[in-house]
């Protein structure tokens, strides 16, 4: 397990670097799919099979497909994009470096909980157990989440469904349709 942990840990960090620094949005999205997949592997390594499967189904299978869909529909993959100004870049990097240093210091020196005390007996990731806790101890939160998802569906439909103002031609699908219309009008 230790070997697999290190291998996939390095892979995860590499693909996360890809998400942040890939010049094109679609490449970023594909790197993120990789990161999410490797995180699912980490969950499985820790015995959380149910969460690992959900991670791939929900994140890689639904959310990221939606993101890729929007990138393709709007034609946002415009090639290398400029970054922020030099000032923002440097201050952001310094801030993140300090933040990371703080977290690493805390996790390697000042841990307040007893590490290695109560390592679980492996039944923690069992889907039956997760499901039982979900609809007993956390029933109220579960219902609220259902309501939240319902509200999100309605909100998304209301926001995106604007038939009066169609999307303007970009480099994506709309450009395809626009050029098809042009061709039709030339023939007419």
């Amino acid at each position: 397990m230790i070997v697999a942990m290190w291998i996939f840990g390095v892979l995860t960090v590499l693909s996360a670097l890809g998400v942040v620094f890939a010049p094109r949005p679609l490449h970023s999205a594909l790197w993120l799919v990789g990161t999410l997949f490797f995180l699912a592997v980490h969950f499985a390594l820790m015995g959380a099979d149910f969460i690992a499967a959900l991670q791939v189904v929900v994140y890689a299978g639904a959310i990221m497909v939606l993101v890729v869909f929007v990138i393709m529909l709007l034609g946002l993959d415009e090639g290398p994009t400029q970054n922020q100004s030099r000032l923002t870049l440097y201050s952001g990097a310094i801030f993140c470096g300090l933040f990371l240093g703080l977290l690493l210091f805390a996790f390697t020196h000042q841990l307040s909980f007893p590490i290695g005390s109560g390592v679980s007996n492996g039944s923690v990731g069992d889907p039956r157990e997760v499901g039982r806790v979900l609809v007993t101890d956390f029933l109220y939160a579960f219902e609220v989440i259902a309501l939240l998802l319902f509200a999100a569906i309605i909100g998304a439909v209301l926001l995106a469904n604007d038939r009066k103002r169609p999307l303007m031609p970009g480099r994506g699908l709309k450009a395809v349709q626009g050029s098809a219309n042009d061709a039709a009008s030339v023939e007419a």
């Binding site: 799919v33 189904v57 299978g61 497909v65 869909f69 699908l173």
Partner: protein, 356 residues
């Protein structure tokens, strides 16, 4: 020594499973060409032959076609990243092949002190694993459409992503009721529960376990057929509108990989339907696992059932015309999803009534 033997057994099992899936997929291409010819009153593939034997077209589809594909030019459009262009077919094929790892294809072999399960990976979340791999398969299609820099390809992959994300929802919800009946997500235990009979004469297969499961079967079967992107759901590659959809800019071996991936998807879909609804390797009225040759008989029964569903899918593909895109999405969101939710409620109500 013992460890080495265990590793060897796993390697042999993996080789057998992968070989079986790929061979079944290849044979399905032959069935497809011959069955389509039969349905359309033609003869079908009959030209290529070795020493005058064409073996009813098998030589043509399994030898001549791959040779033709291998010797074709591997065309990559101008200004397209060669790496990404080659990555797409693999990303489409890989999840499909590895999703077969959790499907049990026979009763366990018991030798003296060693039990060999005929299942590659005993995962306690098997069904979620298959659903997860199925949802990863869409990236191959999406990537192929995007890297081709072709309008038809882009249109095809946009259609594919919306279609697959929609039908995944119906697929998931349609089997929740069934999983509540089985009380597990593990395929091996699901198949074991399907021995014996219900009402005294029906085999106790998933489809007969509750009065509503045949609805779940129809919904699930339609959804997996939509996931394989074949007619009547072949909008992403509809040749009369989009040339070949997301595969337009692919030729030679990469095209063949897409094609083989599609047929491997048919095999996996059939195997899923058989395991969930038709008893897996169980034979009705006879307990196969009691015999000495039980594992062999079980594997053959499983193979026969899977082949039957592959042939059924081919027949449907050549009998039904293609949907329009709005019809396709309306069918999913306005018809199948409400029915699936109603079926779930009905199944749970039936279970509660049975308990009381």
């Amino acid at each position: 020594m013992d460890d080495l033997l265990s590793v060897g057994i796993v390697v042999v099992k993996a080789a057998v499973v992968m070989g079986a899936v790929l061979h079944l997929a290849a044979l399905t291409t032959w069935v497809e060409r011959k069955a389509s010819a039969l349905i359309q009153n033609r003869i079908g593939a009959n030209r290529a032959a070795i020493f005058g034997f064409d073996l009813a077209g098998i030589i043509n589809t399994l030898v001549a076609d791959p040779v033709k594909a291998l010797t074709k030019e591997d065309f990559v459009p101008k200004g397209v990243s060669q790496f990404m262009h080659s990555l797409a077919p693999f990303m489409g094929m890989f999840p499909v092949i590895i999703s077969f790892a959790v499907i049990p294809f026979g009763p366990p072999i018991v030798l003296d002190d060693r039990v060999i399960t005929l299942q590659l990976a005993e995962l306690n979340v098997g069904i979620l694993y298959v659903l997860a791999m199925g949802s990863l398969a869409v990236y191959g299609t999406v990537l192929a459409g995007w890297v081709s820099k072709n309008k038809f390809s882009l249109m095809g992959s946009l259609r594919a992503s919306a279609q697959m994300i929609s039908y995944e929802i119906t697929m998931g919800i349609s089997i929740i009721g069934l999983l509540a009946l089985y009380q597990t997500l593990d395929f091996a235990s699901i198949v074991e529960q399907q021995s014996g009979t219900v009402l005294g004469f029906l085999p106790k297969w998933g489809i007969f376990m509750s009065p509503f499961n045949w609805i779940a079967f129809i919904l699930f079967f339609v959804s997996v057929m939509a996931e394989t992107k074949r007619a009547p759901f072949d909008l992403p590659e509809s040749e009369s509108e989009l040339v070949a959809g997301y595969m337009t800019e692919y030729s030679g071996m990469k095209f063949l990989l897409f094609w083989l991936g599609e047929f491997a998807e048919i095999v996996v879909a059939s195997a899923l339907v058989v395991v969930l609804f038709f008893g897996g390797w169980q034979l009705p009225y006879i307990d196969v696992s009691k015999f000495t040759l039980g594992p062999l008989i079980g594997a053959m029964v499983f193979g026969a059932k899977v082949s039957a569903f592959c042939v059924l899918q081919v027949i449907i593909r050549w009998s039904v015309p293609r949907f329009r895109y709005d019809q396709l999405l309306n069918l999913c969101w306005k018809l199948m999803l409400p029915i699936a939710l109603g079926n779930l409620v009905a199944t749970i109500a039936w279970m509660i009534w049975l308990d009381s």
